[in-house]
Symmetry: C2
Subunit: 431 residues, 2 copies
């Protein structure tokens, strides 16, 4: 796996002659293990063995771990049940303990198999963040101490998800925070590789649960991975991919529970093959709102979406279209189904100000996206996509495109049909 | 309770005239709540109300809390189950999370009832300790930040049991650590009172479970409390009492679950009443070892107890007596029953070196102690004690005395009888 990685994923590393001993390679690696990978003591012991394998291969290793799965949920429940008012600073103090427990346990597990290791908490490193508690952004990492220990052969066991604010308070990074911690640490340590161990063995062309013919990708570009993540593929958090892309961190997604090679996330410049379609992503629990016949005045869209933003409602896709009467306009947008009621309340509260005729809400939508760098060179992809969906009788409510992605909003009932049809038409079951 | 406390327990405070408003008193108070007091969210809410009552009375309040009861046991279990080798530094990282959860929850509970509060972790204060992990000693506390906040009316919610080592690692203070944290904080903050809330409502003349006539003491001297704690009374840890005595912290022990006045632990100089017997303490799970007929040479006792100390076996009471043949001597000592097997192994391993004739071990011993400053002035107390025990047919295996304590080692079966008889003969059921 290491060999595969250095030949494909790390083209900047100089090639070693066969005579050179593997133990001399001495790469610096960041490994990240998620909640299911450390859910019980036996799994933590298995993680220790994976770390040891890299150490035995002569590599410097920093490991980033999440909380044991289930733990964070219990902590969040306590923090939200104790009272209706939430102080995000105290919430962070509580939920950060999950990762603190795991680093201690993994350090002990490593020591028990003869690997020199110590735990590092966010404030000890220090992993500096801003003070936006519960969704803090990383500002910088002081790696001097850890780097020093790595050079001495000690494994750094780092608590994911947590950092320290300018005021010295505990912060947490929000959803997918541990992936982001790992990538940031890999960037700061100038690591040769950042291996994200999870409960799937890589990035697939689509969700194998709904498309048995889905194929694991050997590699995917950062741009594609970013679109996949934001289009609903859950294997990596959007934030961590964006950070890896910015810092050119060599990411690999692989399984904690098998020894199969995973998926390399690489720079587009490093791709040797032709551009292609990489995958079909989908996201259920989408909703749609249409404001019918709004007066077509400058600033009207700003009022609509400004109001929603003030209420922390994230809007995804937006279409504005002329009404039949030409003096008015319709605005349709998609959003998370959980936010729908709040959005409707917001917009009904300013109905007089906006002057729309009707508000139509639909809670049962899904977004299906085709992703691939092929779109840069092959103009027929959108036509192929829309044709196959039309053949199956699937109505497209909203369409949005980026340079390497086309997304459509459809009735949720058609999600599986759309994903399978698109997977087939683009021939994704074969490499 | 505050009034009772300032008239009896804090004689150095100037008396306020009746015209002076209670809200102007503005005392500085440290409150400490143990694991059973914060065992569930409802109890944490109840603790918040107790804190609020002190704030509403115009006092500055710092609260020290333990982990929710049960939590520490789970954490210790994980830390010891993960592997046979124990790195105390990592153990501390794991077990310190219990208190971290509680401070976050209590801070939120306080904010929810309108009390300005923030949590403080050991490293944030900083509460500096040595680097003897899992039983660290407090070296100093930087109270400048907390003091500043107290002056602004903010409640400091402090994680008990934890500190930071000179190298910046998380340390824990060992058994009863949160009591010690509270007393150290009270000393550093120069607090007017340190209230230890627990699941009993004060210090009793003896254990009410075996002597229903046991009476709650309104006050007890530091010296007596120290002897009570080291003689087996579990209400306060010996270490915290010793620290309170050294720094003249005004301690009060009281119940989280009632509004009854508790017990004040005061300086002997502050006692107005005559000296008296304060209580009968006992400790089961004691064991006895006798080395029969050792050669009576200089250094023989040093070899015996030096060897035991090297194996971390704590010895309590010791008697050395001449053997029948005058050239030899017997040594008898008591120790915790859990250490008995280890002690026997140690001493049998050096039997040839020591040259004793026989080793007699008895695992079923108890220590019963009579404690009180009365011993300073009333020489008849030992005689009364020994007489009543003799009348009941209780054999005394070892006797040891301090200035204000007489302890006897007896067969464990006689524990209740001894405690009740002594409680009666010294008239402890009446003040």
């Amino acid at each position: 796996m290491t060999a595969a990685c250095s030949s494909v994923g790390r083209p900047k590393l100089k090639k070693l002659s066969p005579a050179q001993n593997n133990r001399l390679i001495m790469a610096r690696i960041v490994q990240k293990f998620g909640g299911t990978s450390v859910a019980e003591l036996d799994r933590i012991r298995a993680v220790a063995q994976r770390v040891k394998a890299e150490v035995d291969a002569g590599n410097q290793v920093a490991v980033v771990v999440s909380a044991m799965s289930g733990t964070t949920n219990q902590l969040v429940k306590w923090a939200t049940d104790i009272g209706p008012v939430h102080d995000a600073r105290e919430y962070d103090v509580i939920v950060a303990t999950g990762e603190q427990v795991t680093v201690g346990l993994l350090a002990i597990a490593l020591q028990n198999i003869g690997v020199d290791a110590r735990s590092w908490l966010g404030w000890q490193i220090a992993l500096q963040t801003d003070d936006i508690h519960s969704s803090a952004r990383i500002k910088g990492i002081d790696v001097a101490q850890i780097e020093d220990r790595l050079m001495q052969g000690q494994v750094a066991v780092v608590a994911g998800f947590q950092g320290i604010s300018p005021g010295g308070r505990v912060t947490t990074l929000g959803r997918g925070g541990s992936d982001t911690s790992a990538v940031a640490l890999a960037a700061a340590l100038n690591a040769d590789r950042c291996d994200i161990y999870t409960d799937v063995d890589g990035v697939y062309t689509t969700d194998p649960r709904i498309m048995p013919k889905a194929r694991k990708l050997d590699q995917i570009t950062f741009e594609e991975m970013l679109e996949m993540a934001s289009a609903g593929a859950k294997v990596l958090q959007t934030r961590s991919v964006a950070m890896a892309m910015r810092h050119k961190v060599h990411l690999q997604v692989l399984s904690s529970f098998s020894d199969e090679p995973g998926t390399l996330v690489i720079d587009e410049d490093d791709v040797m093959e032709e551009q292609k379609i990489s995958g079909i992503a989908y996201s259920r629990d989408e909703a749609k709102v249409t404001l019918v016949s709004l007066p077509d005045q400058p600033g009207i869209a700003a009022t609509v979406f400004g109001t929603l933003a003030e209420h922390h409602i994230n809007v995804d896709m937006i279409v504005q279209s002329a009404s039949a009467d030409k003096q008015n306009t319709d605005i349709t947008f998609s959003l998370g189904a959980l936010d729908l009621d709040k959005a409707v309340d917001c917009l009904e509260a300013i109905k007089n100000k906006l002057g729309y005729q009707a508000l139509v809400a639909d809670p049962d939508m899904a977004k299906v996206s085709v992703i691939g760098t092929a779109m840069r060179s092959q103009p027929g992809i959108a036509r192929t996509m829309f044709s196959v969906l039309a053949e199956k009788g699937i109505n497209l409510h909203v369409i949005s495109t980026s340079e390497i992605k086309i997304s459509v909003l459809i009735d949720s009932d058609y999600t599986e049909l759309a994903v399978r049809s698109l997977h087939d038409v683009f021939g994704l079951e074969t490499a």
